[in-house]
Amino acid sequence: MTDTLLTVHGLNTGYGAVQVLFDVAFGVRAGTVTTLVGANGAGKSTIMKTLAGLVAPRAGSLLYDGREIVGLASHERVDAGLCLIPEGRLVFPGMTVEQNLRLGAVSPKARSGHEEMLAEVYRRFPRLQERRRQLAGLMSGGEQQMLALGRGLMARPRLILMDEPTLGLAPVMVKQVFEIIRELRDAGFTILLAEQNARVALELADHAYLLENGRVGLSGTGQDLLEAPEVRRAYLGM
């Protein structure tokens, strides 16, 4: 239990009259990649948004680092080390790459020492350094994904929430994104990954949960889920 960074318990969330999540419970252990797989509309993004504080839960508890974060505003969660790389990347289109990155470090804790962090992000993503003066809105989807990731890292997070990081990317880029996720785990980051690309995501996962219609259907190691018949049939096309 001591090394569990995030514990979600009894989470119910919805929009208006529609309930999306029903008693969702899962945990994320420090230093691992945990994957949420599931069809479109299963509630993966809603979990991510709830964790980031963009959607308020109706019931349930979110224990992050032993502390209840349900009442915290988004910026307070960023300051606590929780960082969302959103679906659709959501970079600031009218600002340069470097401005986007520096904005990643607006939270008070990240602000000191953001110069070293910027250098580290540039080392990790040389492409961003080449394009540092370009408007983010003029970059390709893959480059924007790198930027969104770099911007997230600028906040010096402990837990990185990645929502559909490969959506709409070319196969080469997809491979590269998974490579980066692996590198980040090896560098000591904890990652919660929501991904439609079930096979690769499960191969990478230390632990995985299958979401079906807003409920956790199955859980186990990535390998367990890869071998589970319902996953093979519904998500891997076998």
Partner: protein, 295 residues
Amino acid sequence: MDTLLSGQLLFAALVSGSLYALIALGLNLVYGTLRLLNIAHGDLVMIGAYTAFWLFTLLSIPPVVSFFVAAALCALLGWAVYEGMFRRLLANPGLAKRVEANSLILFYGISVILQNLTALAFTSSSRGYQYLDTVITWQGVSMTGNRLLSLGVAGGICIAALLFLRFHLFGWELRAVIQRREAAQIVGVNLNRVQPIIICAGFAIAGIAGVLVSMTEQITPFMGFPFTIIAFVVIIIGGLGNIGAGVLAGLSLGLIETYGVALTSPGYRSILIYGLFVAVLLIRPEGIFTKAVRS
């Protein structure tokens, strides 16, 4: 032809253009960050004008001091409106979506209340005062001191605001909120800090503009509405929420209005302004100065 090329006309165009840019700047900041359509924006100009008028006539306090008083007064009003109404509405994602459309009606109510309270307190007769109205002639251009002051203050604030947005981290936070509100929250921008600061700043700018207007125009409780309209025309021409383009559009509108009237007659003033407005909406509804960027 001689009048068209004269420095005199250019000066007049710059004075009104910079004023339009300033008034629209306040409206654009509030719309961009809070998505509130402040139809009472012109009435804040009116409050600024009355502040300058009363301070000058009763206490002989010159407008250069009234700037600060009017700015503080309008900022206080902005703070009251935010704390009293919008903070709770904007904090709830479900309600926040409806606030944008309903803010128009809410602010219309505020506008009517402000106008009528002012009429009740000060009657609706028009007022004015004389300040720095001696004519200075420089290079063949005759200028009154108050118009020169107006150009300097309005231009100065617009330039300062643009530099702030470009170079200061808080300015970047602001642009982040304007471009992608949700993403700004994700990176850790504190909306509970940005939003009240901006509504106060936007209101204060309108108050300052009011002091400028009061030096050269008649002051009545109902003087604000034309400024609201001008400000909306400007920010739609520039692109809603696009601060830099809004300033440029304000300046352009001043030039087009002044030169257009000089070429035709004052009777065409409204036709020019609304004609431009409609033309922009038909041809480039996203605003003339908006850059195309992929989202």
